[in-house]
C-alpha cells in the first residue's frame, strides 16, 4: 500500500493531489492514519497504535480502517497494488 507521489498533507488535515488538482479534507484521526500510511506502516502497526491511543474496539476499528483505505483508493490517493 503506497501513497501516490507528490500527495501533500497539511498540518490542518488538507490533502492536495497535484496530479488531479483535487483537494480533500481529513478529520484528525484520518490525518494520523494517512501519515502512518505515508511512513509505510502496516495495517497491524496502525491498528496497534490507534487502539492504544483511542477508546475503540478492534473490530470497529478494522471495519472503519478498511472503509477509509477503500476511500483513499477511490479518490486515487493510494496506488492500487
Amino acid at each position: 500500500m503506497k501513497l501516490k507521489k507528490n500527495i501533500a498533507i497539511s498540518e490542518t488535515g488538507f490533502v492536495f493531489d497535484p496530479n488531479s488538482g483535487d483537494s480533500y479534507s481529513l478529520n484528525s484521526i484520518g490525518k494520523e492514519i494517512l501519515e502512518l500510511v505515508k511512513l509505510g506502516k502496516s495495517k497491524s502497526d496502525i491498528s496497534f497504535h490507534i487502539l492504544n491511543k483511542y477508546d475503540a474496539d478492534e473490530f470497529t476499528f478494522e471495519r472503519n480502517y478498511d472503509d477509509f483505505i477503500d476511500m483513499l483508493k477511490h479518490h486515487k490517493i493510494l496506488e492500487n497494488e
Binding site: 480533500y24 481529513l26 491511543k53 483511542y54 472503509d67 490517493i77
Partner: protein, 449 residues
C-alpha cells in the same frame, strides 16, 4: 492512561465553489430526549423502531392554533381529521381538548363513536358512505357532507324512511389559485353545480342544509387561497339567504395547513417557509368578517386541520443497521426504519438526527431503510454524522399520515407510545407479531397436511 475519544477516520473531497444544496455545514444537532424522557430509555423499553407521540406537543400546537382563530372570530370549532392519525389515544387527546371528529369512512365513523364523540359532533366527509353508514349518520344527527349527486339522492330517499331530518352540507370544490385543483371531490362552484345541488336540497324540504364545506388541498403555503375559498362559500350562503331566507349554521374550511416538514425539492427548509397559524387565521377570518353575514347570523367556522396539528408531536426512533459504500464511493447508512413505516418520506425530506454523537464530522450520506426494494430511501442525500452500527437515530415531525398510511411489508408495524403530560410513557398501539397475522389468515383444509 485514559484513552482519547475515538471517531472514525474520514476523507472527503472538497468541491470548491459549489455550495452544497444543504448550505454550509452547521454543528451536528442531536435529539436525545422527548419531553424530558431519554430516547435511549424509550428504545430500550419499547424496542426499535418505535413511534412516539407527545401529548404535551399536541396540546401546545392545538392551543396555538385555536387561539389564533378564537382571538379573531367569535365562533370557532376544530374537528380532528381522523385519517391524519386515527390511533384512538391520539383522537381522544384531541377530543379532550375540545375537537369534534372529521371522518371519511364507516370504519372511521365507528372509531369516533367508540371514542365517545356524540353523533352531532361527527362530520362525515368523503365519497364512500354506504347506505348503512348514511342511515346511522342520519339517526345520530351527524353532519353529512355530500360529495356527489348519487349520494345526494340516496340521502333524499333515506329521508323518506325516517322521522329524523338529515343534517347535511355540501362539499364544494373551486378555483382558489391552488394547483392542482382538487375538483374530484364535491360540487364545483364555478360551473354552478354547487348552487344546483343546494337548490335541489332546499326544494326537497326533507333535509336541513346546515353548512357549506370545502377542502382546497393539502400543504397549502399561500394563506390567501383560503380567503378566496371563504368568499366563494360566503357567496353561496348569501344566495341561500336571499332566495330561501335560509341561514346556514357553519362554514367548514377543511384542512390543508402546511406543517414544518420540508417538501422534497424545496430550496428552503419547511420550518422557514411554513405560514403561522396566525397567517391562516388572518386570511380566513378576515374574509368571513367582510362577507355579507348579519351579525346575529355569523356562521361557526369549522376547521379540519390535520398535519399542522399533529406532525410536530410525532417522532420515529430507530437504529443504524449497517454502513456501506456505494459503487461511486458515497456512504450509505441502513436504518431499521424504512418507507413501510415512514410513508411520508416519499414527499418529505425528513430531519433525521443522531440521538447522540461524539463527532461533528459529517459525510454526504444516503439513508436507506431495511426493505429489499430500491425505493426504500429515507433520505437520498444528507450531511450525516459518522454513526456506527447500533447507534440510535430520531426522526422528527412524523405525526401526520404515517401511523395511518404505513404498510405492513416484510416485517411488523412497531409499537406506538404516547408521552403524557406528566412525562409517563404508555403503549397506545401494540407492535404486530406473527400472531397478528395468524389471526387474520385462513389456510384451506387441503393445504393443511
Amino acid at each position: 492512561m485514559t484513552k482519547l475519544r475515538y471517531e472514525r477516520p474520514i476523507i472527503s473531497k472538497i468541491n470548491a465553489g459549489v455550495p452544497d444544496k444543504f448550505g454550509m455545514k452547521t454543528s451536528v444537532e442531536t435529539l436525545n430526549q422527548i419531553d424530558t424522557v431519554p430516547v435511549k430509555d424509550i428504545l430500550e423499553q419499547y424496542g426499535s423502531p418505535v413511534f412516539v407521540v407527545s401529548e404535551p406537543t399536541i396540546r401546545k400546537t392545538y392551543e396555538e392554533a385555536t387561539s389564533a382563530f378564537t382571538s379573531r372570530y367569535p365562533k370557532v370549532q376544530f374537528a380532528w381529521s381522523y385519517k391524519t392519525n386515527y390511533i384512538d389515544a391520539v383522537c381522544r387527546a384531541f377530543h379532550k381538548l375540545g375537537s369534534w371528529a372529521e371522518v371519511v369512512s364507516g370504519f372511521e365513523y365507528q372509531k369516533a363513536l367508540n371514542n365517545g364523540v356524540s353523533g352531532n359532533e361527527i362530520i362525515f366527509n368523503g365519497p364512500d358512505k354506504s347506505d348503512e353508514d348514511l342511515k346511522l349518520a342520519i339517526e345520530n344527527l351527524s353532519l353529512i357532507h355530500i360529495d356527489h349527486f348519487d349520494e345526494l339522492y340516496t340521502i333524499l330517499k333515506l329521508a323518506e324512511t325516517t322521522d329524523k331530518r338529515p343534517k347535511v352540507a355540501i362539499r364544494v370544490n373551486m378555483n382558489t389559485g391552488i394547483y392542482p385543483q382538487w375538483d374530484r371531490f364535491g360540487f364545483n362552484y364555478e360551473n354552478g353545480e354547487a348552487w344546483q345541488a343546494l337548490n335541489r336540497l332546499m326544494y326537497s324540504e326533507k333535509v336541513d342544509v346546515v353548512g357549506l364545506h370545502t377542502h382546497i388541498g393539502t400543504y397549502i403555503t399561500t394563506p390567501n387561497a383560503y380567503s378566496v375559498a371563504i368568499s366563494k362559500l360566503a357567496e353561496l350562503a348569501t344566495s341561500l339567504k336571499k332566495k330561501f331566507n335560509h341561514a346556514i349554521q357553519y362554514i367548514d374550511i377543511g384542512g390543508g395547513f402546511a406543517s414544518k416538514n420540508t417538501l422534497k425539492g424545496a430550496y428552503l427548509p419547511g420550518k422557514d417557509t411554513c405560514p403561522t397559524f396566525d397567517a391562516y387565521a388572518d386570511a380566513i377570518t378576515g374574509a368571513l368578517m367582510s362577507a355579507n353575514f348579519a351579525p346575529n347570523e355569523l356562521p361557526t367556522l369549522i376547521i379540519e386541520s390535520g398535519r399542522a396539528l399533529i406532525d410536530d408531536a410525532g417522532y420515529l426512533l430507530g437504529t443504524v443497521l449497517a454502513n456501506k459504500r456505494l459503487a461511486d464511493g458515497r456512504r450509505s447508512t441502513i436504518l431499521d426504519i424504512g418507507v413501510n413505516n415512514l410513508f411520508t418520506s416519499f414527499w418529505y425530506e425528513h430531519e433525521v438526527l443522531p440521538v447522540e454523537t461524539t463527532t461533528q464530522q459529517t459525510e454526504d450520506t444516503t439513508l436507506y431503510g431495511p426493505l429489499c426494494m430500491n425505493i426504500d430511501v429515507v433520505r437520498a442525500a444528507v450531511q450525516f454524522p459518522l454513526l456506527q452500527k447500533g447507534d440510535k437515530v430520531a426522526i422528527r415531525r412524523v405525526g401526520a399520515y404515517n401511523m395511518t398510511q404505513w404498510m405492513q411489508f416484510i416485517t411488523f408495524r412497531p409499537n406506538v407510545i404516547m408521552i403524557d403530560e406528566e412525562h409517563n410513557t404508555h403503549i397506545i398501539r401494540k407492535a404486530e407479531t406473527n400472531a397478528t397475522f395468524e389471526a387474520q389468515e385462513v389456510i384451506p383444509e387441503y393445504l393443511k397436511s
